[in-house]
């Protein structure tokens, strides 16, 4: 079964997880977390990072028992044929919904900042086509693409750094802990949505040619770097905008870059958006692959090319439904809650079942 073109290295795994984690959320994260935990938002990011690390341990604990299987296979092995199929279907729906959410968030930001008159279907269609174009290839090729575009992440950071605002007010961060412990923890929830992506391990472990420990290392490293980048962006935004102001600015990172002009480039925010689109695309591709693999498994299709077309079309059609920004926000909130089922509840459940099973067989 181990077709060489269908495998990835541990480095490629790292890039894939990193690129999936950093996604649409980058632009709005400081705003979202500030809504809840005020200027202690950066602590929330750290907490969210810690929680996602715990979840990584759980998912890793589950998948390491079944090398050569994706979550779809594991679910069927552990929960029986029917329940397994049910779980697989749920995961497919989850992947498709996230694809849809990414499309909606991406088009709304692009429409707001750059292309106000372009209809949303055109913007989404471009993303869908680009997504399908890559996802229909084998996993290794997808991974190579991810590896290649990871160079953009440091560029994004450098772009923020060179345009580092001259007047930062570090005192906006004090007193630390002003929001209260409870709010800081609730704030971690809104960060966690932006941290999603590590659950890709549920399918990618099958293709990774590495031992368990290096898989864990790669995923944890990706998670750690994501946390660092997020903390950095949140801190900069918090020091640049005064607390009341940031509550008015849904995309602080972009807004910050908007004021800076170089001799040649007038609007860094547009440059940033162009790079950000690629980073969004990688997240979209990841979830498209995630759902497509599931569809292929359920219907016993060879490869995931045909499924990719189906999943992408469904996601595109769904993404056309919400119209106002409030509807998109609402969907985003719902998916945020639902995602816990897929990154925490089901993996924990399956892990427990597998532990029970192995206990019984002894």
């Amino acid at each position: 079964m181990k077709n060489k073109a269908e495998t990835i290295t541990k480095y490629q795994l790292f890039y894939m997880i990193l690129q999936t984690q950093i996604g649409v959320g980058v632009l709005g994260l400081p705003f979202a977390v500030h809504q809840v935990s005020q200027n202690d938002g950066w602590i929330s990011v750290l907490i969210a990072g810690f929680i996602s690390q715990l979840l990584i341990f759980i998912i890793w604990g589950l998948i390491k028992k079944y090398p050569g299987e994706t979550i779809y296979g594991i679910a069927e092995k552990l929960a029986g044929k029917y329940f397994g199929k049910l779980i697989s279907t749920l995961y497919i729906i989850y992947g498709t919904l996230i694809c849809m959410l990414i499309l909606d968030l991406y088009q709304s930001i692009l429409k707001l900042w750059v292309l106000p008159h372009t209809p949303k279907w055109a913007l989404m269609l471009m993303m869908v086509f680009a997504g399908i174009y890559i996802v229909k290839e084998r996993v290794r090729i997808i991974a190579r693409f991810f590896m290649f575009v990871t160079i953009l992440v440091p560029i994004l950071i450098i772009l923020t750094l060179i345009s580092f605002p001259t007047s930062v007010e570090y005192r906006y961060l004090f007193p630390i802990g002003q929001a209260g412990t409870l709010k800081i923890f609730i704030g971690a929830h809104s960060v966690l949505i932006s941290m999603l992506g590590f659950e890709q391990l549920l399918i990618l472990s099958k293709y990774t040619q590495a031992n368990d420990r290096s898989i864990l290392k790669a995923v944890s490293l990706a998670n750690g770097i994501t946390v660092l980048i997020y903390v950095f962006l949140v801190l900069i935004s918090f020091m640049f905008f005064s607390p009341k102001e940031i509550d008015l600015i849904p995309h602080p990172v972009l807004y910050m870059l908007k004021a800076i002009t170089f001799k040649i480039v007038e609007r860094i925010d547009l440059l940033f958006i162009s790079i950000w689109i690629v980073i969004v695309a990688t997240s979209f591709i990841s979830y498209l692959l995630f759902a497509s693999k599931g569809v292929s498994y359920l219907f016993k299709l060879k490869g995931h090319k045909a499924s990719a077309y189906i999943v992408a079309s469904v996601a595109f059609a769904l993404a056309l439904i919400p119209n106002t920004k409030f509807e998109i926000e609402q969907i985003s909130t719902y998916i945020g809650y639902v995602s816990y089922g897929f990154i925490a509840f089901i993996p924990i459940l399956l892990l427990l079942i597998s532990i029970l099973k192995s206990l019984r067989s002894e």
Binding site: E169, R171, E245, A259, I260
Partner: protein
């Protein structure tokens, strides 16, 4: 199948640009905008639009020409739409370098006049902003100063004052934070027009309480304020009278060039309802003009240092008094309190209590050099 898909895809990708194209040939670029209030409370906007007049058939390019257009509306957007009606092509504000607001608007509250810029992604938030003494539109009517067009003239005027530590480095975006921060207030350049010359002068800094202008300080005090805020730029120079008995008056003066300036704010004697603020300012400077000479001895240096220190300390405290009278807190004392003594901040009624806080500044000047002449 592949060809079919390609046939759909290619035109789609090519078409996407059509909805959102902005052609520079259809745009009338606004370089400067001046905002006034009419007698019945409406907004009058006056803008400078850059056009090109071909100077000769072969020379190419052509010389830039200013066109001045104004319009009245109930709010900013309506004013802008009314100006647009008078223009051959569409109004484009993405390149605006200078925003001028009349003092009347400043005193009423500036924020409602800025919202339009903060809300639109294509507006230029890195333009300079200034408050004008009297009607703002008059400033643009100068059209050109020597070879420079008025928009550049005002912008360069502000930038050069920034370099000389008279104005803080700021743009439209930077002041939004201060509007929104209860713990600190913005300051903006304050301009005066000499109509007969005509000439525009940087007169000092307009002081604000949130977004309302409440006073102003002259350029001399502005430099002191920037020193206190640690916001000094390339040049920081002080000329002061240190003697009274010289043959010619010019010999009584000294000019120092400060190459290192550091100001520390500390809150002392903090109790539940009161506290004092101390500023400790250290300046390291070189003498760049001193006709009295005789700088050979260490004693002479010490004497000058002492004189300058007391002089600047006194001026600094007078300047702070002016800030408190205007109930303006550009130093961010409120922010310091919120950050490190949040309980005291809650107990105080900042608007009422700020003017009465004991604030004390102490300046220490250290002269380390005297140029190539003793």
């Amino acid at each position: 199948m592949k060809k079919f898909l390609f046939g759909i895809l290619l035109p789609l990708l090519l078409l996407t640009g059509c909805w959102d194209q902005h052609l520079i040939k259809d745009a009338r670029l606004v370089y400067a905008a001046a905002l006034d209030r009419t007698e019945n409370g409406h907004v009058r906007g006056t803008v400078i639009i850059r056009g090109f007049v071909a100077s000769g058939a072969e020379s190419g390019g052509g010389s830039p020409q200013n066109e001045i257009v104004s319009g009245v509306g109930k709010n900013m957007r309506e004013t802008r739409m009314n100006i647009d009606k008078k223009l051959s092509d569409s109004f484009t504000g993405a390149k605006t370098r200078v925003y001028l607001y009349s003092e009347v608007i400043g005193e009423e509250g500036l924020y409602p006049y800025l919202d339009i810029f903060y809300r639109e992604p294509s507006s230029s938030l890195n333009g300079k902003i200034a408050i004008t003494n009297g009607e703002a539109a008059k400033y643009l009517e100068i059209i050109r100063k020597g070879n420079t067009l008025v928009a550049e003239y005002i912008e360069e005027l502000i930038i050069s004052s920034e370099k000389n530590s008279i104005l803080p480095r700021l743009d439209v975006q930077a002041i939004l934070s201060k509007f929104m921060d209860p713990g600190s207030d913005p300051v903006l350049p304050y301009l005066v027009l000499h109509e007969e010359v005509p000439e525009i002068e940087v007169k000092g800094l307009a002081l604000f309480n949130d977004d309302r202008m409440t006073g102003f300080i002259n350029t001399n005090d502005a430099t002191l304020l920037l020193t206190l805020m640690n916001k000094t730029n390339k040049f920081l120079r002080f000329s002061r009278k240190v003697h009274v008995d010289k043959r010619q008056d010019i010999e009584n003066y000294i000019t120092i060039d400060v190459y290192k300036s550091k100001s520390d704010m500390t809150l002392n004697n903090v109790s539940n309802h009161s506290f004092t603020v101390d500023f400790d300012v250290n300046l390291k400077a070189n003498i760049i003009e001193y006709p009295s000479d005789n700088l050979g001895s260490k004693k002479e240096f010490k004497k000058l240092e002492g004189k300058l220190s007391t002089m600047l300390t006194k001026e600094m405290n007078q300047m702070i008094r002016q800030l408190q009278d205007a109930n303006s807190d550009p130093l961010g004392i409120g922010r310091e309190l919120m950050a490190f003594h949040p309980k005291v901040w809650k107990n105080l009624e900042w608007e009422k209590d700020y003017p009465n806080i004991p604030i004390n500044a102490k300046v220490t000047v250290e002269i380390t050099g005297n140029g190539i002449l003793n």
